[in-house]
């Protein structure tokens, strides 16, 4: 504590002579484009070689059907067990609800109570994201504050990547290689979706 006070005192002394500059206030960005169309364009551009996909479905039932069709083999109980030899710490895929989406940057926003809860977007080969269409905003400036109970926000824009060797783009670096985004018209019931998708009684295939 003593050191903190000492640092603050130093800063008080050092900044005393600086010109007073006001905070500029909010930044406003008029953008006339259609956010949903732009989101699709930008999400797809972040994975031009099939690393990203984008789909809009009518309602929760249609979403369930679509996920079952797109991920049939993953409905078995061992779906979470990765290929040990290839990637010892990775699950085949993770399913996450996005709290918001940002059109301009093609960003998926996750609000979580603890960073650890975002592992389903991290140690997976494929990150499957579901959200409601009315969660799309145009720019980062328009993002609402964190969801209630959340303390950490993760923004995801495209697959994990690196270009550290001669600027050659390599996907993935450590995180997922693919992101699949499914948007539902109307309200998303994520809890029900998860329990139906993974419940053995409601199993579609396998």
């Amino acid at each position: 504590m003593r050191r903190i006070d000492e640092l603050l005192q130093r800063l008080r002394d050092a900044s005393a002579a600086l010109p007073a500059i006001e905070h500029p206030g909010p930044f406003d960005v008029p953008d006339e484009r259609d956010p949903l169309a732009l989101l699709e364009e930008r999400v797809c551009a972040l994975g031009p070689d099939g690393e990203s996909s984008f789909a809009i479905v009518e309602d929760n039932d249609a979403l369930l059907t679509r996920l079952r069709a797109d991920y049939p083999e993953r409905l078995r109980a061992e779906w979470v067990v990765g290929d040990e030899a290839a990637a010892p710490m990775f699950y085949r895929f993770g399913l996450t609800e996005a709290h918001h989406l940002v059109a301009r940057s093609g960003t998926i926003v996750l609000d979580v109570a603890r960073a650890l809860e975002s592992l389903s977007s991290l140690v997976v080969e494929e990150h499957v994201v579901v959200a409601s269409v009315d969660r799309v905003v145009m720019t980062l400036d328009q993002l609402p504050p964190l969801a209630r109970g959340a303390k950490t926000r993760i923004l995801i824009s495209g697959p994990s990547r690196t270009a550290d060797i001669e600027k050659t783009l390599v996907i993935p670096a450590h995180g997922p290689c693919r992101t699949a985004l499914y948007l539902v018209r109307g309200t998303l019931d994520f809890g029900a979706l998860v329990s139906r998708f993974f419940s053995s009684s409601d199993r579609g295939a396998g």
Binding site: S160, R161, E166, K167, P172, G175
Partner: protein, 474 residues
């Protein structure tokens, strides 16, 4: 640092075959991508002004805002430490490691940890340190410092990394990628770069799982929410700050921004300036403190803060764009600067953080083209800071040959006839160019223009134009 002026280092760096080629290629690609990403130039310029104002506002009220940050971060469960210098920061980091019985550390990229020379201190205490950013891992394995603020291995060609991985990671090139000779054929370069990346990934995965402590920097500290923000593409920082039991973040107090609402502007500016991305793949805005540690570092910054002419250097967001457009950087790379920070911002900052004796020559080694100031996303007039350093250096120096020449030159400037007469010595000087050091340095690799028969002003005088004008006035 004796004898180690920039001109000296430049000679060494320029003589490294291929270094400048590699740097020009990589930096130009980053700049081109940046330019292509900025769609709305008017909005971009407005954002730069906006960001500059936020940063300068933060700096003039830094004590209140930092106190607010500390209070809210503590309420979020962070343990907040303050370190007045590098030595103190290292001590705090070591104490945390000891308290948690840590023997293996995984690190996310952090320039501040370079600044305080953290790795050698941890290693001396018997702790295994692994850099998890690919570029950072490469320079760590080579025993080098990062060659660029955001792209540490920018100076290396694939061949060098291949050799390194063979030696250090027991890497073997898959049979389908084998090639003849020393240089990798162009069409195989990216396939090999990809395979090397995957090899590093496999190596690092074990390190992520074994590490008991993750170390990171921070791109922003948010005062009103008590959260810290980290940007990255690889996901190595998310893994480093999520998997190990303990997380320690270290940041200069200059990373502070007032509010969560201010973040968007910086998220717009930083990745685009750095790599031309609209946003990095990941941004973590961490507010679940739960025993995470934050070390707030001063290490010379408060002294710079008190410097009303230069304090805006503290608004730098370390995007590296100024290096990417800097012709000096492009020729000599980050290692040519002889300090932790490099490029134009390094040249302006290092004399503050590391002393004018060690780094005083950096501000002189610039053509003052101003490309850095034009590209800086927070509008720091970097080249003007370099000019001011020159002025300060001259004030500190006693009488020198250069000053006497300048004084004579100023005397001539005030006396047009003498000025013109002095200029007539040019052809004479030209014929003795080998003897005059100034002209010799010019003409060793460049021709000098010929002297025309008549100067422009002589011609004007002959034509009588000037006189005419004067007479009208009378």
């Amino acid at each position: 640092m004796k004898g180690k002026t920039l001109e000296h280092r430049a000679r060494r760096q320029l003589s490294q075959s291929g270094l400048a080629d590699t740097l020009y290629r990589a930096t130009q690609r980053a700049v081109d991508k940046r330019n292509a990403t900025i769609e709305d130039h008017a909005e971009w310029e407005r954002r730069r002004d906006h960001a500059r104002q936020i940063k300068l506002h933060t700096l003039c009220r830094i004590d209140e805002l930092l106190a607010q940050f500390i209070e809210r971060a503590q309420a979020n469960g962070f343990v907040v430490h303050a370190a007045l210098d590098a030595e103190e920061a290292r001590r705090i980091a070591l104490r945390i490691c000891r308290d948690h019985g840590v023997t293996r550390v995984i690190k996310g990229k952090s320039m501040v940890s370079e600044e305080i020379a953290l790795n050698p201190a941890l290693e001396a205490a018997g702790i295994e340190v692994t850099e998890s950013d690919l570029g950072e891992l490469i320079v760590q394995l080579l025993g080098q410092a990062p060659a660029h603020i955001t792209a540490p291995a920018i100076h290396l060609a694939v061949e060098e990394i291949l050799t390194l991985f063979r030696e250090r990671l027991a890497y073997e090139l898959p049979s389908e990628l084998r090639f003849e000779g020393a240089a990798i054929p162009p069409r195989q370069r990216s396939a090999i770069a990809r395979d090397l990346t995957l090899a590093a990934r496999r190596f690092l995965q074990r390190r992520f799982l074994r590490a008991q402590l993750g170390f990171s920097g921070a791109n922003f500290l948010i005062a009103d929410s008590g959260r810290l923000v980290l940007l990255e593409n690889e996901a190595n920082i998310r893994l480093s700050t999520t998997l190990p039991r303990v997380h320690v973040a270290i940041a200069g107090f200059d990373k502070l921004i007032p509010s969560h609402d201010d973040l968007a502007t910086f998220l717009h500016l930083l990745p685009t300036s750095s790599t031309g991305q609209r946003l990095t793949s990941y941004v973590s805005e961490i507010g679940d403190g739960d025993g995470r540690h934050i070390i707030l570092l001063d290490n010379g910054r408060s002294q710079l803060l008190a410097d009303a002419e230069h304090y805006d250097l503290l608004s730098c967001i370390r995007c590296g764009a100024c290096s990417n457009v800097c012709p000096i950087f492009r020729n000599i790379g980050g290692h040519g600067y002889g300090g932790v920070y490099s490029g134009p911002i390094g040249a302006a900052l290092l004399p503050h953080l590391g002393g004018i004796d060690a780094y005083g020559d950096l501000p002189f080694a610039s053509s003052l083209c101003g490309a850095c100031s034009s590209i800086c996303p927070v509008g720091i007039p970097i080249h003007e800071r370099l000019l001011e350093w020159r002025e300060r250096a001259q004030r500190a120096r006693g009488t020198s040959g250069e000053k006497l020449i300048a004084r004579a030159f100023a005397w001539l400037i005030e006396r047009p006839a003498w000025f013109a007469a002095a200029a007539t010595t040019y052809p004479l000087a030209q014929s003795f160019s080998r003897l005059l050091p100034v002209l010799r340095r010019w003409s060793s690799e460049r021709d000098l223009p010929e002297m025309p028969r008549q100067t422009f002003l002589e011609w004007i005088a002959d034509e009588g134009r000037e006189t005419q004008r004067r007479e009208e006035e009378r």
